[in-house]
């Protein structure tokens, strides 16, 4: 029942943000014009990704504290779910970049940050798949996940602010939540959209964890 409620909340928020995002009045800014509506779809992917990678980080820490394999499953599935959002974020961003900056990929600290996040978590999954023994795999990949996440936060949280000459908006203050250029009607869609994608992301993660546990059960029963 409770699970269902969250499903409805997440689904409704996303449907609302998609419909309202296409319908509301947006300020006509130079260069971006109507493509500013992509803000509701593109930026939300990063918020969802960071939250889910955060979940992965916390579960990796929990594993190192308790050595309970359940946390390992949760961390790995969170990394996989986060990667999904990472790729969606990259694709929505590339389309936007093509229309506003003229290229699919531009030289920019925030784009590099996105690429590095994806590289790190793909490497994490490669590392996982290179080991068979469960406890060992869990322990070593948890160490890598914690090590990588802290460096990642430095990379995407600290370094972009120190660089000059970024053309990507949202450099001053917290990326994405920037006050400048975001008028109050847009906020009415933007914030619910973020919440909706985060809730949906967490739900996807939970379903993946359940699925992975069921697969383990099946494998056990078959033995």
């Amino acid at each position: 029942m409770k699970e269902n409620l969250w499903k409805w909340i997440g689904g409704m928020l996303i449907i609302y943000s998609i419909i309202a995002g296409l319908l509301i009045e947006v300020p006509d800014l130079p260069v971006i014009h109507e493509s500013i509506r992509n803000l509701f779809y593109h930026v939300c992917m990063w918020f969802a990704m960071i939250v889910i990678m955060g979940i992965s980080f916390v579960n990796s820490l929990s594993f190192l504290r308790t050595f309970d394999l359940r946390y390992d499953t949760m961390a790995a599935e969170a990394a996989r779910t986060g990667l999904l959002f990472g790729f969606l974020g990259i694709f929505t961003g590339m389309i936007w970049a093509k229309f506003t900056w003229g290229d699919f990929w531009v030289k920019d600290p925030q784009l590099n940050g996105a690429a590095v996040t994806i590289l790190i978590y793909v490497a994490y999954l490669v590392l996982r798949s290179s080991m068979d023994e469960e406890q060992k795999r869990a322990r070593i990949s948890a160490v890598y996940a914690v090590f990588a996440f802290v460096l990642l936060i430095v990379f995407i949280g600290v370094l972009p602010r120190m660089s000059e000459g970024s053309i990507h908006p949202g450099k001053d203050g917290s990326p994405g939540l920037g006050v400048n250029g975001l008028d109050s009607t847009m906020r009415l869609v933007f914030y619910p959209a973020i919440a909706g994608w985060i809730v949906t992301g967490v739900l996807i993660w939970k379903i993946r964890v359940r699925l992975s546990r069921l697969k383990e059960r099946v494998a056990e029963l078959q033995d």
């Binding site: 490669v126 060992k136 120190m162």
Partner: protein, 219 residues
């Protein structure tokens, strides 16, 4: 107590290195041949931008190559012996410090060979060398930790590059920014902010290694 352990472990590593030589000579040859290939490919002198980029790419590959053997020399039996004799913190600290030494030698060597073949664009020598040394120590910290992870997983060489490149990037981009500045006439302290970032990154990596290595160690 800890420092005694660290120092004797480093001395052991240095003695091993000097006795075997192949590792150090291998690195030297690696740097030399990569730079020579670059020289042939570009047929001589290049502009400041590519100069900087090539230098750091060669540094990155040489460092990954050099660090990947950090934990290979020790077989499982010897690991077990360390396990009874010393604390895990002593092991990781000694490895980081030893690699620090190695990377600094490597960095200076690489700089020398590179200038020999490709000419020098460096205007502010002090800034460049400080960036090089800070970069080498950062490489040492991150790559030692990744070498420990990759070594534990069993497929050392295949994983080393994949695991380390994304982690080294924040360091590498900051380094390239500072060294690019050193190719133009700037004051040393104009990049104090970026130098501070490098120092803090180094400290962060050592702390992370200190906290996380004991988990890798236990088997």
């Amino acid at each position: 107590m800890l420092w005694n352990e660290v120092i004797s472990l480093i001395r052991k590593d240095i003695r091993l290195e000097l006795r075997q030589r192949w590792a150090l000579n291998g690195i030297l040859l690696y740097v030399f041949s990569t730079v020579f290939v670059t020289y042939l490919a570009f047929s001589g002198r290049i502009d400041a931008g590519p100069w900087n980029a090539l230098f750091w790419i060669i540094m990155l590959f040489a460092s990954v190559n050099a660090a990947s053997k950090s934990f290979v020399q020790e077989n499982n039996a010897r690991q077990l012996m360390y396990y009874f004799l010393v604390s895990p913190q002593a092991v990781i600290l000694s490895k980081i410090l030893y690699n620090l030494l190695l990377m600094m030698v490597l960095g200076l060597m690489c700089y020398g060979v590179f200038v020999l073949f490709m000419g020098s664009w460096v205007v502010n020598q002090a800034l460049f060398v400080v960036a090089l040394l800070l970069g080498s120590s950062g490489f040492a910290g991150i790559l030692t930790m990744v070498a420990a992870i990759a070594g534990r997983s069993g497929n050392n060489f295949a994983l080393m590059a994949v695991l380390s490149f994304p982690l080294v990037l924040p360091l590498l981009l900051t380094l390239m920014k500072v060294s690019a500045a050193a190719l133009t006439p700037v004051a040393f302290w104009s990049h104090a902010g970026n130098l501070l970032v490098l120092v803090l990154l180094n400290a962060l990596v050592v702390v992370l290694g200190w906290v996380l290595f004991p988990y890798l160690w236990r088997d």
